[in-house]
C-alpha cells in the first residue's frame, strides 16, 4: 500500500496567549491522496484554518506552536523541516489559495510579473521569456480571456472572480502536488463561486493534484469534496466519503449543522448554546454541552475515538457509535437518516409532507 | 405578555409626540463639571484684572501667587485634561483597567511614568513654594553637595573648604551657576516651563487639529477642500520667523512661544485626524447613528471624536517631547524668555564654564534628557495600550 500524499497524524497546534493556551487544533488526523479533494468543514473557531496553516507551518511562531503530531508530505516529515526546506515547499510542491484574492496579489506589480516570480522562485533556470510564456499559458488555462494582452495588467484591473483565477494560476505556477485552498470562494458571488469551483475541479483532473479545501459551506463541500472532515472546537467529529457523510450523517454535530441550513424548504433549527472556551475546553466530547443526545459518558475523559460507521469509509467520534452501543439514539428509531437524504429528491418539488 | 417587574418600561409605550421638544440635550456630568470650573476660573480672572492691584499678587493665602497669563492658561489646560482625560478613565473603570493591563506590560514605561509624575508634580507645585532663583555674586560656581572643586574656581566658597577644595553644601544641593543662582531652584522652575510647554501647546494643537480634522472628514466636499487647502498653506508657513518677528517687536515671552506654536502647528495633526476619521466615517455605527436621526454635530462629537482619540493621543505623545526640546533649543539660543529659568537657558548659561563648572550645563541637561526619554517610553506604551487591535 502506498503512502498518501499528505498524512496528518494527531496534530496539535496551540497558541500561547496571555489568557492561557488556546488549543486551536487538538489532535487532528487526516489523509489526502493525489487527485483527491478533502474538505475540512467547520464553523469559525473550529480550527480548520489553523489545521491548513499547520501543514506548511504558516502559523506565527510564537505564539503558535505545533506541540504534538506529525505532518508527512510525500513521505517527509514537515514538522522536522528547516525553514529553508519549508520555503521550498510552500509555493513549490504545495500551493496556497487564500480567501481574499485582494490580499494575495501585490497591487504594485503586474499579474504577469507576479506569476513569473512564482515560476522563477521554484525554477531558477527559467529564463524571463520562457517564464512569461508559461505565465500566459497558465492564465489561459485558468480562464482569463485574452491572456496575452492581459498579462501586463495590474490586479486592480481585474474583477474579484478574475483575481481569484489569477491566484489559482500563481498557485499552479510550480506544478504543485497539493493545493491548500482556504475558503477560496467565500468572498465571491454565487455565480462566480460556481465558476471557480468548476475551475478547481478541472485543474485537479488536469494536474492530478490533491486538494485540501477549507470551507464553512456544506453546499460547497457537496459540490467538490471526495472526502469530508467535520471539525468542531479543534477536534474531528466525523470524517468519511462525501456521499456517506451527506446520506448518512452520524455525529450529532454534523446532523445539527445540516439541519440549520437555510433555504431547504424545511424548518431550520438552530444549534443552541455557544462554542466552548478554547482555553479550557470541556472534558469528554467537545460537543456534549450542546448535544441533544449527550449522556453521562460524553462528559468524561477524552474526545471519543473515531468509530467506524457501517463498515464504509466513514468514522465518527461519538460514544453512541461505539461497538455495542446503539446508534439509533442519534439516527432515529428506524435507523434511516432524517436529514441528509431528504434532499436527494431535490428541492424543486414541494415536499408532500411540507406544510 | 408577561413582565410584571417594576423596572420594566417598554419601548412601545413611549409617547413620542410628548417628546418632540428640541433644545439642548441634558448636559453630561463631564461637560457640566467642565463648564462650571471654567466659570470659576473666569470669575477669578475678572477678579484678578479688576480688583487686584496691577502688580500685586492675586492670592496671598495660603501662598503668595501672582497668577500670570501663562498660569491662567495652564489652569484651563489642566481642567481640560482632568475632565476629558482623567474623568473618562474614572467613569469607565473597565476600559481603564484594560488599558492599565496593557500599559503595565512595558516596565520601562511604568518607571518613566512614575518619573514624569514626579517631575511634573514638582514643576506644578514647586514654584508656588520656592522663590525664584536669584542672583548672588557671593555664591558663584558652588559645586553640588558631596562634590568638591578647587577653591580657585569658586569665588567665595559657601561650604567647607579643605585641602584647597571647596565642598558643596545642602544650601545649594545641585550647586550654583556663574551668577550664583541655585541650580536646584532653576531646575524646578525649568520643570514648570517644560510642563507648560509640554501640556498647553499640544492641547491647543490637539483641540484645533481634532476639530478641523473630524469636521473636514465628516463633511467632505467643499468644507473638506477649504479646510485642507488652508492646512496646506499653514504647513508652508514659517512659524519660526513669525516668532522671531514678534520676539523683536514685543520681546520674547514663554506665553508668546506657546501660543504662537499652538495656533500654527496643528496642520499635520489635523491631516492625521482627518485620514483616521475618513476610515471611521465608513463604519456602520456612523450610519446607524445617522439612520437614527442624529445630527452632524452629534455624530462628530459622540462617535468620530472618541474613535480618533487613540490617534490623537499617539500624536500628542510624539509632540510633547519634541516641543520640550524645541523650547530648550530656543532658550539655549537666547531666543526664549530671559526671565524664565528654563532648562535650555541654564544649559546655555553654563556652556562657557563647562571645563571648570561642568554641573551647570550637565544637571539640567540630564533632566532634559531623562524627561524626553521617559516621555518617549510612555508614548510608546500608550500607543500599544490604546491600539484597538490589542482589544480582545
Amino acid at each position: 500500500m502506498t503512502e498518501p500524499l499528505l498524512s496528518i497524524r494527531n496534530l496539535k497546534t496551540h497558541f500561547h496567549t496571555d489568557e492561557g493556551t488556546v488549543r486551536a487544533v487538538d489532535g487532528v488526523s487526516l489523509d489526502v491522496d493525489r487527485g483527491e479533494t478533502v474538505c475540512v468543514v467547520g464553523e469559525s473557531g473550529s480550527g480548520k484554518t489553523v489545521t491548513a496553516e499547520s501543514i506548511t507551518r504558516l502559523i506565527p511562531e510564537p505564539p503558535g506552536e505545533i506541540v504534538d503530531g506529525t505532518v508527512r508530505f510525500d513521505g517527509e516529515d514537515v514538522t522536522a523541516m528547516s525553514e529553508k526546506q519549508l520555503e521550498a515547499l510552500r509555493g513549490g510542491r504545495i500551493g496556497h489559495i487564500f480567501q481574499n484574492p485582494q490580499g494575495a496579489l501585490n497591487p504594485v506589480y503586474t499579474v504577469g510579473w507576479q506569476i513569473r516570480e512564482a515560476i522563477q522562485l521554484h525554477d531558477k533556470k527559467a529564463k524571463d521569456k520562457e517564464a512569461r510564456e508559461r505565465a500566459i499559458d497558465l492564465l489561459d488555462r485558468v480562464g482569463i480571456p485574452d491572456a496575452t494582452s492581459r498579462i501586463d495588467d495590474y490586479p486592480h484591473e481585474f474583477s474579484g472572480g478574475m483575481k481569484q483565477r489569477i491566484v489559482i494560476a500563481m498557485a499552479l505556477a510550480s506544478n504543485p502536488d497539493l493545493l491548500i485552498a482556504d475558503e477560496p470562494t467565500t468572498a465571491l458571488d454565487v455565480t462566480i463561486q460556481m465558476q471557480i469551483l468548476r475551475l478547481l475541479n478541472q485543474v485537479q483532473e488536469e494536474f492530478n493534484t490533491g486538494i485540501v479545501m477549507i470551507t464553512h459551506d456544506l453546499g460547497v463541500v457537496a459540490e467538490v469534496a471526495d472526502r469530508v472532515v467535520v471539525m468542531y472546537a479543534g477536534k474531528v467529529m466525523e470524517e468519511g466519503d462525501v456521499y456517506e457523510i451527506f446520506e448518512n450523517p452520524s455525529h450529532p454535530y454534523t446532523r445539527a449543522l445540516l439541519e440549520c441550513l437555510p433555504g431547504r424548504g424545511e424548518k431550520m433549527s438552530a444549534i443552541g448554546g455557544s462554542l466552548p472556551s478554547t482555553t479550557s475546553p470541556p472534558d469528554g466530547c467537545r460537543f456534549h454541552p450542546r448535544c441533544p443526545y449527550a449522556v453521562g459518558d460524553c462528559e468524561i475523559g477524552e474526545q471519543p475515538p473515531m468509530y467506524a460507521v457501517d463498515d464504509g469509509d466513514h468514522a465518527v467520534s461519538c460514544v453512541h457509535f461505539e461497538p455495542g452501543a446503539d446508534p439509533s439514539v442519534v439516527l432515529g428509531e428506524d435507523g434511516s437518516d432524517a436529514v441528509g437524504g431528504a434532499r436527494a429528491d431535490g428541492g424543486d418539488e414541494t415536499g408532500g409532507d411540507a406544510r | 405578555m408577561m413582565g410584571g417587574e417594576d423596572y420594566r418600561d417598554r419601548f412601545e409605550d413611549i409617547d413620542w409626540d410628548d417628546m418632540q421638544r428640541s433644545g439642548l440635550d441634558s448636559l453630561t456630568t463631564q461637560t457640566a463639571g467642565f463648564l462650571a470650573s471654567l466659570g470659576v476660573v473666569a470669575l477669578l480672572l475678572v477678579y484678578d484684572y479688576v480688583v487686584v492691584a496691577n502688580d500685586g499678587p492675586t492670592f496671598t493665602t495660603p501662598f503668595e501667587w501672582d497668577v500670570t497669563q501663562l498660569d491662567w492658561l495652564l489652569v484651563v489646560t489642566l481642567l481640560t485634561v482632568v475632565f476629558f482625560a482623567v474623568y473618562p478613565l474614572y467613569d469607565n473603570p473597565r476600559m481603564s483597567r484594560r488599558y492599565w493591563r496593557e500599559f503595565r506590560k512595558n516596565r520601562a514605561a511604568v518607571v518613566s511614568g512614575v518619573f514624569l509624575v514626579g517631575i511634573f508634580g514638582l514643576g506644578l507645585v514647586g514654584p508656588l513654594f520656592i522663590a525664584k532663583p536669584d542672583l548672588n555674586v557671593l555664591a558663584q560656581y558652588q559645586p553640588p553637595v558631596f562634590l568638591s572643586v578647587p577653591e580657585s574656581t569658586v569665588g567665595t566658597c559657601v561650604g567647607p573648604v579643605s585641602d584647597g577644595m571647596c565642598h558643596g553644601t545642602w544650601q545649594y544641593p545641585l550647586g550654583t551657576t556663574g551668577q550664583g543662582k541655585g541650580i536646584m531652584k532653576s531646575v524646578i522652575y525649568g520643570m514648570r516651563v517644560s510642563l507648560e510647554v509640554g501640556l498647553i501647546t499640544p492641547l491647543i494643537i490637539i483641540i484645533i487639529g481634532t476639530a478641523v480634522g473630524t469636521v473636514a472628514a465628516y463633511s467632505g466636499g467643499i468644507v473638506d477642500e477649504l479646510l485642507m487647502r488652508y492646512v496646506d498653506i499653514q504647513l508652508t508657513f514659517p512659524t519660526f520667523f513669525l516668532y522671531l518677528l514678534l520676539l523683536y517687536l514685543y520681546g520674547g515671552t514663554l506665553f508668546l512661544l506657546i501660543v504662537i506654536f499652538g495656533i500654527t502647528s496643528w496642520g499635520s495633526t489635523a491631516r492625521l485626524v482627518r485620514s483616521e476619521a475618513l476610515q471611521r466615517r465608513e463604519e456602520e455605527y456612523i450610519q446607524a447613528a445617522q439612520s437614527a436621526g442624529a445630527s452632524e454635530f452629534w455624530v462628530i462629537r459622540k462617535h468620530l471624536v472618541p474613535n480618533v482619540s487613540n490617534t490623537v493621543i499617539t500624536n500628542a505623545s510624539l509632540l510633547i517631547p519634541s516641543l520640550i526640546l524645541f523650547e530648550a533649543a530656543f532658550s539655549f539660543l537666547g531666543l526664549g524668555d530671559p526671565t524664565v529659568p528654563s532648562w535650555g537657558q541654564v544649559i546655555s548659561a553654563g556652556r562657557s564654564d563647562i571645563d571648570t563648572a561642568w554641573w551647570i550645563s550637565t544637571i539640567p541637561g540630564v533632566f532634559l534628557f531623562t524627561t524626553v526619554l521617559a516621555l518617549n517610553f510612555v508614548g510608546d506604551a500608550l500607543r500599544d495600550a490604546l491600539d484597538p487591535r490589542a482589544e480582545d
Binding site: 445539527a256 433555504g263 455557544s274 | 417628546m19 446607524a288
Partner: protein, 437 residues
C-alpha cells in the same frame, strides 16, 4: 392608520453617482447603481431584495431611507413622498424607519457600552430621562434574548450573534414601522443564522413591522421573506411571492442564481447553470436587457439556426468585441508561443481557429449561412479589421435581447419579470418556449 397606501412604496427610484476626472472634477459619466426600481412593502410583510454584489441593493436601501439623496424617483412612506420631507418630518421618519447592518462588529461604536448604543436613538429623539432610557433598554435586551445586566458591557465582549441581537434591539427601540435589514446574517456562522432569522420573524409578527430584507443569499431569503425582488445591475428583473419565485422562476437570471447555490447534496453535483463572465460595470451597463451579456438563454437572431449553447459562445465573442475587443496580434503571439513559431509566420487560419477555441465555438456552425457570416467576421478579425468584424456580427446576428430593453410585465405564472422570453410566452400563449427559430 386609516390610510390604504402601502407602508412603503418605491417608484422608479434612481441613484447615480457621478464619475469625475481631473483636478476640476469634470463629470465624465455616471455609475448607475440603482436605475429605476419600483416595489412596495406592506405592513407586516417582509420583502427580500436579492442580487450579487454591485447590483445596487445596498444603495437602494440607503437611498430609500434618504441616507443618501436619491437621484430620481419617489419613495412614498404611508403615502407621502419622503424626498419632499423637511427637516422636522425627516427626523420623524428616522424614528419610524430603522436599519439593521451587516457587520456586527463595525455596527457598534467600540467606545460605547451596548446600553448606550441601544439608548442612543432615544437620546437623539429627545428622551432626557436617563433612568427611563436604561429601563427601556434593559427590558428590550431581555426581549431579544440577552440579559438586562449586559447593558454596561462593551461590544467586543459579545459574539457575532449576540451583537446582531443587540442590533435588532437598537432598531426596535424607537418602535419603528419599517425595518431595513442589510445582509443581517451574512457575517454569521450558519448555526447562528437560524436563531437570528427566527428572532427577526418573531419580532416582525409581534409588532406588525414592514421589513425590507437585503441579501445576496437566496437560501436565507427563502426562510424569511414573503415576496422577493431579484436585482441585476441596478434593475429589478423579477418580483414574486417567495414560494412562486423559488418553484417557478421566470427570469433566466433568477434561474441561474437559484441553480448556482451549492446544494448540500453530493448527488446533485454539477447540475448548476454556469454563468459566463463577470457582472458588467454599472457605469456602462449593456444595452437592451442588461443580462444579455451573460444570459444562457439569450435569444438567437432571426433567420439563423443556432444551438443555444453555440449561440451563447458566439454571443460571448460579440460581447467581447463590443467591450475590450479581440487583439489579433496577441492571439498570434499566443499561438506562436504555444507552437514555438515566430509570430509573423503564424497563418491566419490558425488565428481564427484559436479565437474559436477561446470562445468555445465549434469549428463549423451547423447552419451554413451562419457559418458564412461568422467565418467572414473571423477573417476580418484575423486581418486586424476589428471594426468590420464587429459590425458584421452585430448586423447579421442581431438579437432582440440586445436591441430592446424588456419591460417588467406580469407573466402567466403570476410573477413580474422583465425578459423577452417571458413576454413571448404570454403573447403566444404557448407554454413551451421555442428557442430554435
Amino acid at each position: 392608520m386609516s390610510s390604504d397606501a402601502p407602508l412603503l412604496e418605491v417608484r422608479n427610484l434612481k441613484k447615480h453617482y457621478p464619475i469625475t476626472e481631473g483636478v476640476l472634477k469634470r463629470q465624465v459619466g455616471n455609475v448607475r447603481a440603482v436605475d429605476g426600481i419600483s416595489f412596495a412593502v406592506e405592513r407586516g410583510e417582509t420583502v427580500g431584495l436579492v442580487g450579487e454584489s454591485g447590483c445596487g441593493k445596498s444603495t437602494a436601501a440607503t437611498s430609500l431611507l434618504r441616507l443618501e439623496e436619491p437621484t430620481d424617483g419617489e419613495v412614498l412612506f404611508e403615502g407621502r413622498d419622503i424626498t419632499e420631507y423637511d427637516k422636522k418630518e425627516l427626523k420623524r421618519f428616522r424614528r419610524e424607519a430603522q436599519m439593521i447592518f451587516q457587520d456586527p462588529t463595525s455596527s457598534f461604536d467600540p467606545r460605547m457600552s451596548v446600553g448606550e448604543s441601544v439608548a442612543e436613538p432615544l437620546t437623539v429623539h429627545g428622551m432626557r430621562d436617563r433612568e427611563r432610557r436604561r429601563r427601556i433598554v434593559k427590558d428590550l435586551l431581555e426581549r431579544v434574548g440577552l440579559s438586562a445586566d449586559d447593558i454596561d458591557r462593551y461590544p467586543h465582549e459579545f459574539s457575532g450573534g449576540q451583537k446582531q441581537r443587540i442590533g435588532l434591539a437598537r432598531a426596535l427601540v424607537l418602535n419603528p414601522k419599517l425595518i431595513v435589514a442589510d445582509e443581517p446574517v451574512s457575517a454569521l456562522d450558519v448555526s447562528i443564522q437560524a436563531e437570528i432569522l427566527s428572532l427577526m420573524k418573531d419580532v416582525q409578527t409581534e409588532f406588525g413591522l414592514g421589513m425590507l430584507f437585503i441579501s445576496h443569499d437566496l437560501s436565507v431569503v427563502r426562510e424569511i421573506c414573503d415576496r422577493v425582488a431579484v436585482m441585476y445591475l441596478g434593475e429589478i428583473v423579477e418580483f414574486a411571492a417567495t414560494d412562486e419565485l423559488f418553484e417557478n422562476p421566470q427570469h433566466p437570471y433568477t434561474r441561474a442564481l437559484l441553480s448556482s447555490i451549492p446544494q448540500p447534496d453530493p448527488t446533485k453535483r454539477g447540475s448548476a447553470v454556469e454563468l459566463s463572465g463577470d457582472v458588467p460595470s454599472p457605469s456602462n451597463p449593456p444595452s437592451g436587457c442588461r443580462f444579455h451579456t451573460r444570459c444562457p438563454e439569450v435569444i438567437p437572431p432571426e433567420g439563423y439556426d443556432f444551438e443555444q449553447k453555440t449561440w451563447r459562445s458566439v454571443m460571448d465573442l460579440r460581447v467581447r468585441l463590443g467591450r475590450d475587443g479581440v487583439n489579433a496580434e496577441a492571439v498570434r503571439e499566443f499561438v506562436a508561443s504555444e507552437s514555438g513559431q515566430e509570430p509573423e509566420s503564424v497563418p491566419a487560419d490558425r488565428v481564427r481557429a484559436e479565437i474559436r477555441r477561446e470562445f468555445d465555438i465549434p469549428e463549423e456552425l451547423s447552419d451554413p449561412r451562419a457559418e458564412e457570416v461568422l467565418s467572414t467576421a473571423l477573417r476580418h478579425l484575423a486581418n486586424d479589421e476589428q471594426a468590420e468584424g464587429r459590425e458584421l456580427l452585430a448586423e447579421e446576428f442581431e438579437t432582440v435581447c440586445e436591441s430592446s430593453a424588456p419591460e417588467l410585465r406580469r407573466t402567466p405564472a403570476g410573477h413580474v419579470a422583465s425578459c423577452h422570453l417571458v413576454s413571448e410566452a404570454e403573447s403566444n400563449a404557448v407554454s413551451t418556449p421555442s428557442t430554435g427559430d
